[in-house]
C-alpha cells in the first residue's frame, strides 16, 4: 500500500498540489484522474521521488519514503516498476536488452535465468519475436508493451502507469488495460494509473482519485463515478456526447 498525506508542491510562486491525501491499495488498480494541469503527473513524480515534496509524507508500506536518504530510496525504487507515457525505452538497446536491463542491474540471476524471465514477460505482452528489434523499429503500441514488460520484469510490488493508453488505438488500449489489470491481480501489486481515458477507468479502475486544481476533489470506485454529484468530476466524466447519452440512458432506467 502507498499512503500520501498532506503532500504540497509548488514551482516558484505557483502551487500545484495543495495538500493531497490519498491511499493506493495493494492488489488494486488505483486511478488518478483529472484534467490537464490538475497535478496528476506532479503527484506521481513526487510519489516516486523524481520531485521533492515541499510538505507532507509519502509512505510505501511502513516505510516513510520522503524521509529516506539516497540509498534507502534506491532500495524502495527497486520494488517499483513504471510505465512512462512515451515508453522511455533505451533507444540504444534492443527490445530484449531493454526488458533485461533491470535484472542486469539489480538481480543475482544468471544470464540464462535473466533471459528466461525477460522472454516470459515479452510473451506476456505478446511480443515474442520482436526481441531483436530496436525501439525505433516497433510501433507506438508495441513500445508501450515493451515498456510494460520492462516495468514488470523485476516482479515489482508497486507499478506506476503514466497515461498508458495515450496515442493508442482502442483495441491496443484494451489489450494494455487488461494486461495491467491481470498483472495487478496476479502479483498483488499496488498499481497506480494516471489517465484521462474514461473507458479505462470504467473497465479496470478499482479505486479512483479525481484531482481538481491540486486537490483530491473526489474518491470512490467505478460504480460511483457516474453519479458522484461532484460538479467538477461530472464535467470531466461527461465531457463527450457519448458519455452524456449514457447518462441520459442511465437516468431513464
Amino acid at each position: 500500500m502507498i499512503r500520501v498525506s498532506g503532500v504540497k508542491k509548488a514551482f516558484g510562486e505557483k502551487a500545484v498540489l495543495h495538500g493531497i491525501d490519498a491511499e493506493f491499495n495493494s492488489g488494486q488498480v488505483n486511478f488518478i484522474i483529472g484534467r490537464s494541469g490538475s497535478g496528476k503527473s506532479v503527484l506521481t513524480k513526487c510519489i516516486v521521488g523524481l520531485l521533492e515534496v515541499d510538505a507532507g509524507l509519502i509512505q510505501y508500506g511502513d516505510t516513510d519514503f520522503s524521509e529516506l536518504d539516497l540509498k534507502g530510496r534506491e532500495k524502495v525504487r527497486r520494488q517499483i516498476g513504471m510505465l512512462f507515457q512515451g515508453g522511455a525505452l533505451f533507444d540504444s538497446m534492443t527490445v530484449l536488452e531493454n526488458v533485461m536491463f533491470p535484472l542486469r542491474m539489480f538481480s543475482d540471476m544468471t544470464e540464462e535465468e535473466r533471459l528466461e524471465r525477460a522472454m516470459e514477460c515479452l510473451r506476456r505482452v505478446e511480443l515474442e519475436g520482436a526481441e531483436d528489434r530496436f525501439p525505433a523499429e516497433v510501433s507506438g503500441g508495441m513500445q508501450k508493451r515493451v515498456a510494460l514488460a520492462r516495468a514488470i520484469v523485476g516482479k515489482p510490488q508497486y507499478l506506476f502507469c503514466d497515461e498508458p493508453n495515450s496515442g493508442l488505438d482502442p483495441q491496443t488500449a484494451i489489450v494494455i488495460d487488461n494486461l495491467i489489470k491481470d498483472l495487478t491481480h496476479e502479483y498483488g501489486t499496488t498499481t497506480v494509473v494516471i489517465s484521462h481515458d474514461m473507458n479505462s477507468v470504467i473497465e479496470i479502475g478499482d479505486s479512483i482519485h479525481f484531482l481538481h486544481e491540486g486537490e483530491v476533489a473526489w474518491h470512490g470506485d467505478r460504480m460511483d463515478i457516474l453519479d458522484s454529484g461532484v460538479k467538477s468530476l461530472d464535467g470531466f466524466v461527461y465531457a463527450s456526447d457519448l458519455m452524456k447519452d449514457i447518462r441520459k440512458q442511465l437516468r431513464k432506467k
Binding site: 521521488g49 523524481l50 525504487r77 542486469r104 539489480f106 506506476f160
Partner: protein, 245 residues
C-alpha cells in the same frame, strides 16, 4: 541563472558522476562501448588532420629555411608544434566538436524522452551510470589519439620533405632529435588527460540538464562545444604556465 549556480551544480554533478558504479560488469561493458564510440570512431579524423597539419608545417618552415636558418629546423619545428600544441590541444578541441556534441545530444535526448527518469525510478544512479564510462573511456583513449597524431604529423612532415625535395631525410631526422626533451611529451599527455576530463564532463553536464524538446537538445549540444573549447583554452594557459615555466 548565475555563473556561480552553474559552477556549484557542475561540481556536484561531477561528484555524483564519480560515485562507485552499482554493477561492475555493466559498467565495464558500457566503458568498452564508449571506448569504441569516443576512440576508435575518432581515429580517422585525427589521422587525416594530423597528416595534413604535419605536412603543412613542414612546407611553411621550409619556406623560411635558407641563409642562417639551417635545414634541420624543418624537423625541429614540426616536432615541437605537433608535440607541444597541435596534438595535445588542437586535436582535443576538434574532438570536443565531434565527441562533446555527441555526448551532449545523446544524454540530452535521454533527458527529454524520460529515459533518465526511467533509470532513476528503477534505482539506477543515472549520472554515474551515464557519465562515468564516458569519463574513463576518454581518459584512456585521448592520450592514444594524441600520440597517434604526433607520430603521423611528424611522419607526414618527413614524407613531404622527401616528396617535395624540401630537405634531406637526414636533416629532417636530425631536426626531430635535436634538443629533444622527453618532458615535452609528459607535458602533452598531462594536458590531454585534463582536456579529456573537461570535454566529457562539460558536455555531459549540458546534456543532463537539458529540458524541453529537440530545439533544447540542439542548444545543449552547441553550448557543450562552446564551453568545452573555452575551458580547454583557459586550462591550456594555466597548465602551460605551471609546467613549462
Amino acid at each position: 541563472m548565475g555563473i556561480l549556480f552553474h559552477i556549484g551544480r557542475f561540481f556536484s554533478f561531477l561528484a555524483a558522476a564519480l560515485r562507485r558504479p552499482q554493477k561492475g560488469r555493466v559498467f565495464a561493458q558500457a566503458t568498452l562501448v564508449e571506448l569504441e564510440a569516443i576512440g576508435v570512431q575518432s581515429v580517422g579524423i585525427v589521422a587525416l588532420l594530423s597528416v595534413f597539419m604535419g605536412a603543412v608545417i613542414a612546407i611553411q618552415t621550409a619556406h623560411q629555411v635558407g641563409g642562417w636558418v639551417p635545414a634541420y629546423t624543418i624537423g625541429f619545428t614540426v616536432r615541437q608544434t605537433m608535440i607541444l600544441e597541435f596534438a595535445p590541444t588542437i586535436i582535443p578541441v576538434i574532438l570536443s566538436g565531434k565527441v562533446g556534441s555527441n555526448i551532449a545530444s545523446q544524454i540530452g535526448t535521454m533527458q527529454v524522452t524520460e529515459q533518465i527518469d526511467a533509470l532513476e525510478v528503477m534505482g539506477v544512479r543515472s549520472i554515474s551510470f551515464l557519465v562515468l564510462p564516458k569519463l574513463l573511456a576518454a581518459l584512456l583513449i585521448f592520450p592514444f589519439l594524441v600520440v597517434i597524431a604526433m607520430v603521423l604529423g611528424m611522419g607526414a612532415g618527413a614524407f613531404i620533405c622527401d616528396f617535395a625535395e624540401l630537405s634531406s631525410f637526414a636533416d629532417y631526422e636530425y631536426g626531430l632529435q635535436v634538443d629533444f626533451s622527453p618532458f615535452d611529451v609528459t607535458y602533452a599527455l598531462i594536458k590531454t588527460c585534463v582536456f579529456a576530463l573537461i570535454i566529457t564532463s562539460v558536455s555531459a553536464y549540458h546534456g543532463y540538464y537539458t529540458s524541453g524538446g529537440a530545439r533544447e537538445v540542439g542548444r545543449s549540444s552547441t553550448k557543450a562545444v562552446v564551453y568545452s573549447v573555452v575551458i580547454v583554452m583557459v586550462a591550456n594557459l594555466v597548465i602551460t604556465q605551471l609546467l613549462l615555466t
